[in-house]
């Protein structure tokens, strides 16, 4: 784990160095592409502003993911149980929902739900929902049909087969979906804030661009990226803790 972190930091430093050199040597106008040192400077002097707005966005993202995960899991289970009827009807809509450009519908949610946190949650849930449904459904469907037959010879009811066999088998899929979801959720939050909001890093970003404070805009994005990485790592750690069996490679075998 430590080694991995060191490698990631080295790579990041290399990329930042190249970026810094590119801007310093006149490769791009700093108003369009600020150098890393300028972004770092903005992170420092705007830290109070950034932190305040980060808290707003972080709350939206975390709540949005929770809403999405709950709803997506419930939908995946429903689709799994109604493979013949519900699944073929809903799946195309689900795919279509991912092709809708968020800037197009975000103002609509603001119109319906106001300027509070609600439209943000809806947008975040909308963008992160899909991956969780798909991976959870894949986990549920991947259960060996032989295993289901076996359980039926044990007089297992449909509900008990679900509870003891299918549900645990679907949990790794749920985590995988959630890990993909946290990343897109961050983008969703930015769009949602830009559609109607007076707080949050997406809002800060929009204001900063309009005022030609490009370094501040980049600083906001840097924080969002770091937050996505942190959430991803947190979910990975939680997964290892909750589902150790999913990481087991057959170890030494006693006889």
């Amino acid at each position: 784990m430590k080694r991995v972190a060191v490698r990631a930091i080295v790579l990041l430093a290399l990329l930042a160095g190249a970026w810094e050199a590119y801007v310093d040597l006149g490769g791009a106008d700093p108003l369009i592409l600020p150098a890393p040192h300028a972004v770092a400077h903005a992170l420092y002097i705007d830290r109070a502003l950034l932190w305040r707005n980060f808290l707003v966005t972080a709350e939206e993202i975390v709540l949005g993911i929770l809403v999405a995960a709950t709803a997506a899991f419930a939908l995946a289970v429903a689709l799994h149980f109604s493979r013949r009827t519900l699944r073929p009807a809903v799946y195309p809509l689900l795919v279509a929902s991912q092709t809708v450009p968020i800037p197009m519908v975000a103002p609509l949610f603001v119109l319906w739900l106001g300027f509070g946190i609600l439209p943000k949650l809806v947008v975040i849930a909308l963008v992160s929902f899909f991956s969780i449904v798909v991976t959870t459904l894949a986990g549920l469907a991947a259960v060996d049909p032989e295993l289901i037959k076996l359980m039926r010879t044990f007089d297992a009811s449909r509900a008990r087969i679900f509870r003891h066999v299918e549900l645990p088998a679907a949990l790794p899929g749920l985590f995988t979906g959630a890990k993909i979801a946290v990343v897109v959720a961050v983008i969703g939050a930015v769009f949602a804030e830009q559609a109607g909001s007076n707080a949050g890093l997406g809002f800060v970003f929009q204001q900063a661009i309009a005022q030609l404070l490009t370094a501040r805009a980049y600083a906001a994005v840097a924080i969002l990226s770091a937050f996505a990485i942190a959430l991803f790592a947190l979910l990975s750690a939680a997964e290892r803790l909750a589902l150790p069996w999913a990481y087991e490679t057959p170890g030494e075998h006693p006889r």
Binding site: E146, K149, F154, H164, P254
Partner: protein
Amino acid sequence: MVQAPVKEPFDLHGAVGLSVENVTRRFQTRRGVLAALEGMSLHARAGEMVAVVGPSGCGKSTLLELICGLQRPDCGRVDSEPAALMPQRDLLLPWLSALDNASLALRVAGTPRRQARAQAAPWLERFGLGDFRDTRPAHLSGGMRQRVSLLRSLLAGKPVLALDEPFAALDAITRHEMHGWLARVLAAEPRTVVLVTHDVEEAIVLADQVVVMSPRPGRAVAAIDVTLPRPRHATDPSVVELRDRALSALGVER
């Protein structure tokens, strides 16, 4: 340690055992109708072990599913007391410990967890898995996994056990060990057993009756009673003789 039986031992005398009478089973496939079994018959007295041998694809797994009530015959009759399956692959749940896997049949039938574990624990002990009760399948050897799987099907408490090539994936030594386990288990917990196997020797060493099936569509071409005393060894002349009889019924030239 007290080794409580799973349930009251079945009164196997006077019980019907199982009978498969002139059964036909066809499948609708893309290339037309495929007859897996055609006029298949098999009879087992209660408490008896019947081994079924036959070429690949002759309908042995289909036969077991019919016996377990997972499929219905198209023609003919299947009369069997409730049967629990033991699949060829162990199909243990990777997230459960050996003990929880062994008690799974009880759990899915509605027994509370503590009670199911308490029932399974002495059996795990008896199966030589006492030190591994909290070990997950990924860290068990093939023979251990197979034992847990056998235990799980046994603890389902059904009078009939349908074993589908349960030892096929094991090496020769472990398989030999498993034969011993199975014999001891059945001595303690009599069941009517249908054992599907590819291994004619295994069939004769273990079973009271060996049913030889034809290639697809499968039907019984011979039913050989094995009355030899136990324990039997693959090298015993009488075992070898019966093996050759079974092999020639299978159409294998010696």
